[in-house]
């Protein structure tokens, strides 16, 4: 069941990612975006910018898209704590798909690049989200990159 693009609501009854109390987000704390970040010269600034990690427990929306013959999810978007590492997303997706953790699954942001497992989800969301969603494509074989 794919959710339409117009639907930005995150189901409250869905399975959300495990929230682990983040411990080290203080460096990412910041006030409201000011001049260098809010440059009007940037035509399509990700709307996610509003979700800066002022709150250590801030969550961001991740939207999964299957590629090729990868199995699809019953629910394709989830909220995740911004301070989590990308590894959490990988492990979560494997669990949802009933994959073993050792089985290979390839995850990409925006069908473009594979983030390192230690990258911070909040950073990826801030830099690469579209309409507030971090798009993650997944595939059973190396698809991009």
């Amino acid at each position: 069941m794919q959710s339409g693009d117009a639907n930005f609501d995150v189901p409250h009854h869905g399975k959300f990612l495990v929230t682990v109390n983040p411990t080290s987000m203080s460096a990412a704390e910041q006030g409201p975006a000011t001049s260098p970040l809010a440059s009007p010269s940037v035509p399509r600034r990700p709307s996610s910018a509003a979700t800066s990690n002022a709150e250590p427990n801030a969550k961001v929306v991740v939207r999964f898209r299957a590629t090729g013959n990868a199995p699809i999810l019953k629910q394709n978007f989830y909220k995740i704590t911004a301070s989590q590492k990308f590894q959490t997303v990988i492990s979560f997706l494997k669990k949802e798909l009933h994959y073993k953790q050792q089985q290979s699954l390839f995850l990409y942001v925006n069908a473009a690049f594979a983030p390192a497992p230690d990258e911070i989800v909040g950073n990826l969301h801030k830099c690469f989200a579209t309409d507030g969603n971090l798009i993650i494509n997944y595939s059973t074989t190396a698809a991009w990159g």
């Binding site: 080290s24 987000m25 203080s26 460096a27 990412a28 704390e29 910041q30 006030g31 000011t34 001049s35 260098p36 970040l37 440059s39 009007p40 010269s41 940037v42 035509p43 399509r44 600034r45 990700p46 910018a49 301070s83 942001v109 925006n110 473009a112 690049f113 594979a114 983030p115 390192a116 497992p117 230690d118 990258e119 911070i120 950073n123 801030k126 830099c127 690469f128 990159g145």
Partner: protein, 313 residues
């Protein structure tokens, strides 16, 4: 000024090295029956290189130096890791970044003591802290991680990866191979196509990247990566590194010379204390805060196309 690469700067950074003193961890030496426990390997490593590119040679050196220690000789490359002061070193970070991060953590020593002392480990790979490779795949994993970073950088600059994907298959291969073989000219022949200029139709004329691929490292904190525009679209003012840092990390950095910053003290009391502003370090060098970010990005990025800036206190 736009688009041009200052090759003098790029080539000097390319040739930058950090002297390493590598010794075997005492616990691993004991477990593997290494006799020459006090032996160290002194090695000058390019700052842009990766630890995985020296791991095999380091293992061979210690195996040979220990009279052909067969157990050391049989250690799988994927089991080799490095640490400094008890902290595992990430093999997918450039060596120069690791050195800057380690030395920045020590406020008492303004200049890094050289050689940089790291310990090589052959046992108990910390899979919770380092990315675990598969047997004999460490080189391809390193090149994959490198290419992923280049694509991520391309996406930050242009909002897509058309520039990387537009490279011929041969040019894409050449990026990694010339990097690994340390061939400056061959690398830059391809890399200039990615780094020079900006994206079309953005910022009136396409001179500026949309966002600058940059990460900032603060000891004890999560890595900071923000969508930072290098130019004020209205005044055409090119933001300096200092302006950007004081904007994204006001608790750690102030662009006022000798400035101070306020934040809660780390002892958990919630008390707000003032600290001297941090100093930005790149390639072991204190970067003048008035350096325009766009110039820094074009000329001083690591080969993975990112600026990796460490804040030193």
């Amino acid at each position: 000024m736009q688009g041009a690469i200052d090759e003098t700067v790029a080539e000097r950074l390319w040739d930058g090295q950090v002297p390493l003193r590598i010794s075997v961890h005492p616990a691993d030496a004991a477990a593997l029956g290494v006799h020459s426990k006090s032996l160290s390997l002194y090695l000058s490593v390019h700052r842009f290189s990766y630890l995985t590119l020296i791991a095999t040679d380091v293992r061979r050196f210690f195996a040979d130096a220990d009279g052909g220690n067969a157990r050391l000789g049989e250690v799988d490359d994927a089991d080799i890791w490095f640490e400094c002061k008890g902290e595992p070193l990430k093999w997918h970070y450039p060596v120069g970044l690791l050195a800057d991060m380690t030395t920045a953590a020590n406020a008492a020593i303004p200049i890094a003591p050289l050689p940089w002392h790291v310990t090589v480990r052959f046992l108990n790979f910390p899979a919770d802290k380092l990315l675990r490779g598969h047997s004999e795949s460490m080189l391809s994993m390193t090149s994959d991680a490198f290419m992923s970073m280049i694509k991520e950088a391309d996406f930050m600059r242009n909002g897509n990866i058309k520039k990387v994907m537009g490279l011929s298959k041969q040019d894409q291969t050449q990026l990694w191979e010339s990097f690994a073989a340390h061939r400056f000219r061959d690398f830059w022949n391809v890399n200039a196509q990615l780094v020079a200029g900006g994206s079309e139709g953005v910022n009136g004329g396409g001179s500026y990247p949309r966002f600058v691929p940059m990460r900032v490292y603060v000891a004890g904190c999560a890595v900071v990566q923000e969508p930072v525009s290098p130019v004020d679209g209205e005044s055409d003012h090119e933001y300096t590194l200092g302006e950007i840092l004081s904007n994204i990390l006001p608790r750690y950095y102030s662009s006022i010379p000798g400035g101070q910053v306020s934040r809660r003290s780390p002892n958990g009391t919630g008390e707000v204390t003032t600290f001297p502003a941090a100093v930005p370090i790149l390639h072991g060098i204190e970067v003048p805060p008035d350096t325009p970010l766009v110039w820094l990005s074009r000329n001083c990025s690591y080969p993975d196309n990112f600026l990796h800036v460490v804040l030193r206190f």
